[in-house]
Amino acid sequence: MKVQTIFSMSSPYRDDFRIKAYTFGEGEKTLCIVGSMRGDEIQQQYVASRLVALLKFAEESNRIQPGVSISVIPSVNPFSINIEKRFWALDNTDINRMFPGYNQGETTQRIAAGLFEFIKDFKFGIQLASYYLPGNFLPHVRMIHTGFEDVEDAKYFGFPYIAIRDPEPFDTVLLNYNWQIWETQAFSLYAGTTDTIDHEMARISIDAVCRFMTYKGMASLSMSGSGTQTPTIVEGSQLISIQAPHAGILIVEREAGQEVKQGNVLARIMHPYEGYQVCEIKSPVSGTVFFARNKSITFQNTLLFRIIEEGKDD
């Protein structure tokens, strides 16, 4: 295990800001795994740290293939995690809106550039990502359609779903997109929570990365589950979005991963003062809950659920 500080910067009064990379094996830059990037990504940080422990063991027991080098960056933004702030400590900018970065630019552009300089030459890249809306997802691999994405490789994670969508203007500054532009095969893994640890989802994520490394011939690792052999590929347009018709207190009745029939109640909205039920939210289709909000209040129009409609799998 080689530990490197790949980027550092002084701070007016705090300790130096540092990004550390843990590298296992020697040879071609084969796989890079990026953990937390925002201050609330505790689950992502935890999964990355467990992968470091696991790869250390794998290296010591000669399970990493010769000529293969695997790096893990558990956190790109320890400064924000340490003060429990989601975005950059001083100016509230999001590092994941700064790629590919600029080493003569603003602070978070420099952080992004420092990171990207180290990670851009890898053959494969995995970002343990979180969503900007509060809620739980079915475990899935997300890819942006750039022409360089490889769905066949994404299947090796054994996640039940692979989501692909066309790039929007804001995607051009994300890590995943820029990795692909620099010809790294990039995958974003979404599983479970963000700011608290979900052990089952952590296990599933770790298993998925191990499966990918094993099937791609980078390392031979044991896994606790078998994974999905034939994941469902979901294009953005196949997801049915369900929004709140009214604001109020939200009582969620269905979780991500649950099967629903058309007409099943997904959630109830309760009056915040008078306690009566304002409305029921019923599923317009039969299918599987892909995303479910996990906050207990909602604005009008807030996205509450995304459902994969049955029979629209391909």
Partner: protein, 308 residues
């Protein structure tokens, strides 16, 4: 007449509203004054007040329509947050929005739709709490030909024509300009403050534009209007970024010309009493941006100079 541009329910006994003041008199062109996209930028508040007052008290001079939108991000303004509270989103990265999208996307869509078709939209920004800007209009290269003459009518100090990154395609101005509604972005002052003289100057400039568009029947006091300095091209602007972290001290004001090698400021260490870095101008030019907030990290923007 106060009108709702959009309204939505909030969770507990509150309605979310975007409002505008709609002044109209006879047939004529329509100008929209828009501000408050970023909740920490307040210069536009005073500009809106001055224009609303001017129009209200002189309706006989109006020939057409003036719509004033003082707060596109009312939750942010009322709670001193730049982005949209509860969503942690930059309101100026979600245009043109989506009528069937989430709350913020729907709000963006309703704002965009309401503004579409106007003969001119002026979107007033006030930098942020970190940087102080001299009055300027920012225009992307693609729209320069159409918009620069309008910007000059405003007699604004500085016109910055810049290259547009793809990510900026989701701003209000880009969304409007790319669908045929001309939109000028004014930047001036500093976040969290109101700079009276700049606001009066911008109001004179807007009045002059309204006069030339035939919307207002009286010329403004032209003494505050300037011959705009136009900056265009990749190398026209030099950026000064902090090379070390510390406390930035400056004796200068923005809107001064500097000589190459001149001290713009210093980054100091209060702990040791040392000057950590002497910040010098890399070229002769107009210092149109200057840092207002003293704490800096490596990379923090300290100033921008238009090369002369």
């Amino acid at each position: 007449m106060i009108q709702n541009v959009t309204s939505l329910e909030m969770p507990v006994d509150e309605e979310f509203r975007i409002v505008k003041n709609h002044f109209t008199n006879g047939k004529g062109k329509r100008i929209c004054i828009v501000t408050g996209t970023h909740g920490d930028e307040l210069e536009g508040q005073y500009v809106c007040y001055l224009i609303a007052k001017m129009v209200k008290e002189n309706m006989h001079l109006l020939q057409g329509t003036v719509d004033i939108y003082p707060a596109l991000n009312p939750l942010g303004i009322d709670s001193m947050q730049r982005g949209v509270p509860a969503f942690d989103l930059d309101m100026n990265r979600i245009f043109p929005g989506n009528s069937r999208g989430s709350m913020i996307e729907k709000v963006a869509h309703d704002i965009y739709t309401d503004l579409s078709g106007a003969d001119m939209v002026i979107d007033i920004h006030a930098s942020n709490i970190f940087l102080r800007e001299m009055p300027q209009v920012r225009i992307s290269e693609q729209t320069a030909e159409l918009l620069v003459p309008y910007a000059k009518l405003m007699g604004i100090d500085f016109i910055w024509i810049h290259q547009a990154a793809t990510v900026l395609e989701s701003t209000l101005a880009h969304s409007l300009n790319s669908t045929g509604t001309p939109c000028l972005v004014a930047e001036m002052g500093v976040g969290g403050r109101i700079s009276h003289s700049m606001c009066h100057q911008l109001v004179d400039g807007i009045q002059n534009m309204m006069f030339h568009m035939g919307i207002w029947q009286e010329e403004p006091d032209k003494s505050s209007l300037k011959e705009s300095i136009v900056s265009q091209g990749n190398d026209a602007v030099a950026f000064l970024n902090a090379t070390t972290s510390g406390v930035f001290i400056t004796e200068l004001h923005n809107d001064v010309t500097v000589k190459k090698g001149q001290t713009v400021g210093q980054i100091i260490s209060p702990l040791t009493g040392d000057v950590l870095c002497d910040v010098k101008a890399p070229c002769d030019g107009l210092l149109f941006t200057l840092r207002a907030y003293p704490m800096v990290y490596e990379g923090s923007l300290l100033g921008r100079i238009h090369r002369l």
